[in-house]
Symmetry: C2
């Protein structure tokens, strides 16, 4: 069985209401000056921000974010539930990562790895870990 995004979407939907929004990549200029990088980032983040649920707890996935173990992440999600935070909006950044402004606006930054992965793989990792977290929090066995 291919353990892809579709599979974990299906599995997670047993536990939560899941919406996945995608913004179109901004074309990245070949040679980047600092101004061009910031401009590109702002354009991309504006589109991301428009899709972000302002009523949700916004969690940015960022290399500089906090690293959790699977059990730690599950516990964190349980804490959110316990304190009445029912909507989580995870944001995967663009090619250049988040601007300082975006990081300030997010409620929390987490890091899945020190390594950089394509955003499709980051999405897969996030979905699998959320699925695992709900399994852990319900004391259900996890079979891959």
């Amino acid at each position: 069985m291919e353990l892809g995004v579709k599979e974990y979407e299906k599995r997670l939907k047993k536990y939560i209401k899941l919406d996945i929004e995608e913004v179109k990549d901004e074309p990245l200029p070949k040679r980047l000056s600092r101004e061009e990088i910031l401009k590109h980032q702002r354009t991309e983040e504006k589109k991301i921000w428009e899709k972000t649920d302002k009523n949700a707890h916004i969690i940015g996935l960022d290399l500089a974010g906090k690293q959790y173990s699977s059990e730690g992440l599950a516990k964190k999600i349980q804490e959110f539930e316990n304190s009445g935070i029912s909507k989580l909006n995870f944001v995967i950044g663009g090619t250049l990562g988040f601007s300082a402004e975006f990081k300030e606006s997010a409620h929390m930054l987490i890091s899945l790895s020190k390594l950089t992965f394509p955003h499709q793989i980051v999405r897969l990792l996030l979905l699998e870990q959320l699925f695992r977290a709900y399994k852990i929090n319900r004391n259900e066995p996890y079979h891959t």
Copy 2:
């Protein structure tokens, strides 16, 4: 395009000779005593060790291993090449991780994430990062 294991296998084979070996999962007893865990681990590791290339540099993927950035991992692989280490054997552990003995036998332990992922996803992450590392070391642009 589905960025799966097959895709990265194909891409990596442009750069290196790649062999993937898999050992069959040992059935895990329902209730585990410490002795049963160690027994299970030993049986699994024996099978893994049989498939391990003793002439290769053995790198175990372990939660307790060293974390690298993508650039850091690329640099490490370059260092191996520069010092004449041409064969790398990455080992993804079983359900229970590696025994102390296995960790001692490996030349190096690296950690892709503090999170626990199914081994199929770990394989995907490893292949993608190796592909990325060869791209970085050749100064080639990386398009996902």
